[in-house]
């Protein structure tokens, strides 16, 4: 984990309200300096050209995140964004513009400096996931699954990899993951694509050895419950408001069987049975 200056390579909308940002560690300025007015001399292109499947793995674990802060004075705090793809010194994020923080990040232009702290937290234990695997995404919860799917697809101990994605209406991010999975199932709340309903309507966990889920809390809770009934291993990636992202402030804790745990360093990926979504149970 480091705090470094990066530069924005590309930041563009891929669906209404959904942005994809690529950043590259800045060699010119090094880490820990003031944010300069603007970087010059961008050489690399954004890495999401799908011909190149042989990118080197970066030391980032799938499911980890970075704390990102732009040069703007407001908002004060950095924002945690999950790693969508990582290769060498380039990190890609898929995010939804929701509040002041993500709006400031959405305003980044090519060449703009970004202060990034990371990779933060515990991601998915790629080497420890085997057999038939389902990735369950709710909305922007699909973000970490591109890098995760790529890493899992290279693992000899994975026999099948199914992506189950739920959206309100508009689909996004699927084509980025398609090259690395054996099957994609889609549900939309308004029935505009795939099955009308929720992800939990289109997947039964029983046939799977592991279910890995990221999305809103009600979805994670439903997935946890159905995995528990089916006896399927389940890992969930949890979202929380954060200030520091490094475990110092205790602002992002969630209630677990072993007491309050920090989402930023003890998570964001937890075994589902650990997490007490209702605060009690």
């Amino acid at each position: 984990m480091k705090s470094d200056l990066y530069v924005a390579l590309e930041n563009r909308q891929i669906a209404p309200g959904i942005m994809r940002l690529s950043i590259q560690r800045s060699e010119a300025t090094g880490g820990m300096r003031e944010l300069p007015e603007r970087e010059i001399g961008i050489k690399r292109k954004t890495p999401l050209n799908f011909e190149a499947e042989d990118w080197a793995y970066s030391p980032v674990e799938p499911g980890q995140f970075f704390m990102l802060k732009t040069r703007a004075v407001e908002p004060l705090l950095p924002r945690p964004l999950s790693v969508h793809e990582a290769s060498g010194d380039v990190v890609v994020f898929l995010y939804q513009t929701r509040g002041a923080g993500t709006k400031a990040i959405a305003a980044l232009e090519t060449g703009d400096p970004v202060l990034a702290t990371g990779p933060c937290g515990r991601g998915f234990p790629v080497d420890d996931i085997t057999g038939r695997v389902a990735l369950i995404a709710g909305g922007i919860g699909i973000a970490p699954f591109r890098y995760l799917a790529r890493r899992l697809s290279k693992s000899p101990s994975i026999s099948s990899l199914v992506l189950v994605a739920g959206f309100r209406s508009m689909l996004f991010g699927l084509e980025d993951i398609a090259p690395f999975v054996t099957e994609i199932r889609v549900a939309t709340e308004d029935g505009s694509a795939g099955t009308k309903g929720f992800v939990t309507d289109i997947i039964a966990p029983a046939p799977f050895d592991a279910v890995l889920a990221c999305g809103p809390i009600p979805m994670l809770k439903a997935v946890k419950d159905s995995c528990k009934s089916a006896g399927t291993r389940c890992l969930v990636s949890v979202e929380a408001r954060m200030a520091c992202g490094i475990g110092a402030c205790l602002g992002c804790t969630i209630n677990t069987r072993s007491g309050n745990r920090r989402v930023c360093v003890d998570g964001p990926v937890f075994p589902a049975e650990e997490v007490l979504f209702d605060g009690g149970e």
Binding site: K2, K69, L76, L77, P78, R241, A243, G247, L250
Partner: protein, 306 residues
């Protein structure tokens, strides 16, 4: 003759404790120091204040704990901590190696809590105790001890009897008269004062038509409170003769210099350290740079000049 500039002297004497520099990481924003190690060597700090410790472990508050505001941060963590016993047994031996002053921040719900907790932690190898009578986020005790001069004096006097380390009392800006509380604490035997803790505030979720925080109010910190903190640091510094450690919205070396000019012996950095992990390191470098540029040889040349 060639101008002979020496490196400015940042050393601070705080109640007989020699700090390398005046920059102390504030309680609750620095964990127990271990989280910062990936970013810089904590030995560069003047010191750090631990997360608020209590006699018994506390799980902290439920519900939302953070809310960002314009130029600030509201928090309602609620003194989540493993308790003094676990701190002294498991954590302190690990962080002693940092080679910087460790200031144990102590909270409590009752007079007995404060006395017992301060006594327990002061028997360990910590360098100083910071008595937190200003936490706005606990239902019982906390700030209730820090808003009335007589109550504050009583708790300080009781703690002081058995506390074996220098006692710094952390004051609340929510007191109707912080100077009166400061004077009462000095008279009751406090060795130093630190201020300000967070300012009690309210955030409302208008869509849900309820407060954002389960405790209704929460503590505001960050750049937004700096002018208030500076004013209070100056007022208190002029009223007491014990050292005053100033804090509230410090983001840069020049901010640190401003607090020292307002009378602070040393300063604490809180929220800005959450924004960027390397903040304290940067503030130390910037303060040195500022002093060199302004030809200030030591902090005593500017301390309390305002």
């Amino acid at each position: 003759m060639e101008e002979n500039k020496t490196t400015p002297n940042l050393v601070v004497d705080l109640c007989g404790l020699s700090l390398k520099n005046p920059v102390i990481a504030a309680s609750g924003t620095f964990g127990f120091g271990e989280e910062i190690e990936p970013f810089y060597d904590p030995s560069i700090l003047g010191g750090f204040c631990t997360k608020g410790l209590t006699r018994r472990p506390r799980p902290g508050n439920s519900g939302i704990r953070l809310q960002e505001t314009r130029a600030g941060l509201m928090n309602s963590i609620g003194l989540q901590n493993p308790g003094i016993e676990a701190f002294v047994r498991d954590i302190l031996p690990r962080i002693r190696r940092f080679g910087t002053a460790i200031i144990a921040n102590v909270g409590g719900e009752t007079m007995e809590d404060y006395v017992a907790a301060c006594y327990e932690v002061s028997k360990s190898s910590v360098d100083m105790v910071e008595l937190n009578i200003s936490c706005p986020n606990v239902k019982h005790g906390g700030m209730a001890f820090g808003i009335d001069p007589d109550v504050a004096a009583k708790v300080v006097r009781s703690v002081k009897r058995s506390c074996r380390k220098p006692l710094m009392v952390k004051l609340s800006p929510n007191a109707p008269d912080i100077v009166a509380v400061a004077r009462a604490c000095e008279k009751a035997g406090a060795d130093a004062l630190s201020l300000i803790n967070t300012i009690s505030g309210l955030a409302i979720d208008v869509h849900a038509r309820r407060p954002v925080f389960a405790n209704v109010t929460a503590g505001l910190s960050g750049p937004a409170i700096k002018p208030i903190a500076l004013r209070m640091t100056r007022d208190v510094s002029k009223a007491v003769s014990i050292p005053v450690v100033g804090m509230g919205g410090i983001e840069t070396g020049e901010d640190a210099a401003a607090f020292i000019m307002a009378g602070a012996a040393a300063i604490q950095v809180g929220t800005a350290g959450l924004v960027r992990p390397d903040t304290c390191q940067r503030i130390i470098a910037e303060l040195l740079e500022f002093m060199s540029r302004e030809d200030i040889g030591s902090l005593s040349e500017i301390r309390g000049i305002i």
